[in-house]
């Protein structure tokens, strides 16, 4: 077995390089052909330069959003899978996504019209919804004296998901057809953010979450084999589990506030990554973040070019790719 250090360097370099290539190539690809010369031609005022606007307003924010959202969801998926000791866990398992959906739905249906610092009310409401869901699940799971019980966590999460989904349906039923459609559309994921503001707004949250995650990879390895065994090996299990829950939920909430929930990324990307780097979370977490970003950039590229000039919601592409792939993984394992 090779040294972890060597494998870590190779994994980060490899997936990092892939991401870099995607970031460079993706803005150049699309249904409209643009000339790179014109894009960077300073003599043309930006307000007149259509090619530059396509590059900097239409594509670049979209690609950066894809990278941030894909990386965040994949990282959250890997963390939840370790925390819940279940390879089928996703960022949605604990109700964070359904909380976000309820928040967005309320904003859409009741026509919230507050925009703060350029962020739409839908984004802000969805973030509030996911933080609300996290708070409820966290309180339920820590209610017992012995710290975070993952069984209670799972039950609380599943219950919250069901409850929020029911509320969402109830609101949908009572409102306008058009609003219902808008909510359904939001649930499919949309990366065409059109400006850097939502990305910049989500960055602090994602940065905080990343700082929280920094100490987690090795403890997550140990915790995945059992909380008692991990505690006996010197892991501060309570602290690690809480950090894991909060960081993964924050990063999910931030991602969903940018683009709406994007299906399958959090579930499938960690599995793909494990096929390549193994199960050590010191490799799986950074590799998932890097590959998740690349994966979603790729899916978004397909979404906006496959049926040109029509653009598909990115969630459909991730589901169509992710679903069968995941089935194949399951079949392969049994």
């Amino acid at each position: 077995m090779q040294h972890v250090r060597g494998r870590l360097i190779v994994a980060v370099a490899g997936f990092g390089g892939l991401l870099l290539a995607a970031l460079v190539a993706a803005p150049l690809l699309g249904t409209t052909s643009i000339s790179l010369m014109r894009v960077f031609d300073r003599s043309i005022p930006f307000a007149d330069n259509a090619d530059a606007q396509i590059f900097f307003v239409a594509r670049l924010p979209r690609i950066l959003a894809a990278a941030l959202v894909g990386g965040s969801l994949a990282l959250a998926g890997a963390i939840f899978q370790a925390l819940l000791r279940n390879p089928l866990a996703t960022p949605d398992t604990l109700g964070v996504s359904s909380g976000a959906a309820l928040g967005a739905m309320l904003a859409i249906s009741f026509h919230f019209d507050f925009a703060i610092a350029g962020l739409s009310s839908v984004s802000l409401s969805s973030l509030a919804g996911s933080i609300g869901a996290l708070a409820i699940v966290y309180m339920l799971a820590t209610a017992r004296r012995r710290g975070l019980s993952t069984t209670v966590l799972l039950l609380a999460g599943v219950t919250m998901t069901a409850f929020f989904s029911a509320l969402t349906l109830a609101v949908q039923y009572m409102t306008d057809f058009a609003d219902t459609f808008r909510t359904v559309r939001w649930l499919m994921g949309a990366l065409d953010v059109g400006s850097f503001t939502p990305i910049l707004a989500a960055l602090p949250l994602i940065a905080i979450a990343c700082v929280m995650v920094a100490t987690l990879p090795r403890p997550l390895d140990l915790i995945s084999l059992g909380a008692d065994a991990a505690a006996a090996r010197g892991v501060d299990v309570q602290r690690a589990e809480r950090l894991a829950l909060i960081s993964a939920s924050l990063v999910t909430g931030a991602a969903v506030s940018i683009s709406g929930p994007v299906a399958f990324v959090g579930l499938v990307v960690p599995h793909i990554v494990r096929l390549v780097v193994g199960s050590d979370h010191r490799l799986v977490l950074p590799a998932s973040a890097l590959f998740g970003a690349t994966f979603l950039i790729g899916c978004d590229l397909i979404a906006r070019t496959l049926f040109a000039p029509i653009e598909l919601p990115v969630g459909i592409v991730t589901a169509v790719i992710g679903g069968p792939f995941f089935l194949w993984l399951l079949v392969r394992r049994t």
């Binding site: 040294h3 279940n86 990879p217 995945s224 008692d228 065994a229 006996a232 010197g234 193994g278 199960s279």
Partner: protein, 260 residues
């Protein structure tokens, strides 16, 4: 080495007292059995001894210092714990599982170096599992998994090994294997062991000292020959049993006769 004084524990505030005023002492190099029926609190006592649980009353001290005052990783370098069952939800290899035992020495950020790999290899050798190093843990049989987890505990380089029902789910062949392994590991006198079990014959054959636990309290404690009597068996299990020295095996055996 390890002293528990009047330790009491309940899992919930106001819930049933699972461990009630237990005092015990473990000396260096000992091989002690915590013997008692299901639900008697043996596993809980083991976890209290390992610092996994904190007592509600009383205290556990290791090398003269309260366990609660030991920094976690420092304690883990001295005391290792082998749970009854280990399930790996991810495809960890046997070597990866064993290397996790190096965490108390490395922490969250240090990566395993050649010395850590050497320690892991020695642990695998000691448990007879070297050939399995590259195998995936979840493909192993129960007995093989148990030996790997013991190797992982050995990789912590502990002075005290706590094992929770180490042979509970094993057939008699694998039971003997693990028994002989534990005996061998303890033989050098370097690693003290405490194992919890409800299996009278395992306790009789392996452990030199027994602590009998019933309803969260210590019923009796002392050398196996002194403590493993029909009277105590009746008190522990409500079972009429015959206890005698088996010439060929070289240790006491217990034959249950009837329930009382």
């Amino acid at each position: 080495m390890l002293h528990a004084v009047e330790v009491s524990f309940a899992y919930r505030d106001g819930g049933p007292t699972v461990v009630d005023g237990v005092s015990l002492a473990i000396e260096r190099g000992e091989l002690v059995g915590l013997l008692g029926p299901n639900g008697s609190g043996k596993t809980t006592i083991l976890k209290l001894m390992g610092g996994i649980l904190r007592p509600r009353q009383g205290s556990v001290a290791f090398e003269g210092r309260r366990l609660a005052d030991w920094p976690r990783r420092e304690a883990a370098r001295k005391i290792a714990y082998v749970p009854q069952e280990t399930h790996a939800p991810f495809d960890f290899s046997v070597m990866e599982i064993v290397l996790m035992g190096r965490f108390p020495h490395l922490g969250s950020f240090a990566l395993e170096g050649p010395e850590d790999l050497a320690v892991a290899q020695r642990a695998l050798d000691a448990t007879g599992m070297s050939a399995f190093a590259a195998r995936l843990f979840h493909t192993l049989s129960g007995g093989e998994k148990q030996r790997v987890v013991i190797a992982s505990a050995l990789a912590q380089d502990p002075e005290l090994l706590l094992l929770d029902e180490p042979t509970a789910s094993l057939d008699v062949g694998h039971q003997l294997e693990v028994q002989q392994l534990l005996s061998r590991l303890n033989a050098g006198g370097r690693v003290a062991m405490v194992l919890s079990t409800h299996d009278l014959n395992l306790a009789a054959s392996l452990c030199r000292r027994l602590i009998l636990i019933r309803d969260g309290r210590v019923l009796a404690s002392g050398p196996t020959a002194d403590v493993l009597t029909p009277a105590n068996v009746r008190a522990l299990y409500d079972v009429e049993a015959d206890v005698h020295m088996h010439e060929r095996a070289g240790h006491l055996t217990v034959t249950p006769i009837a329930r009382t």
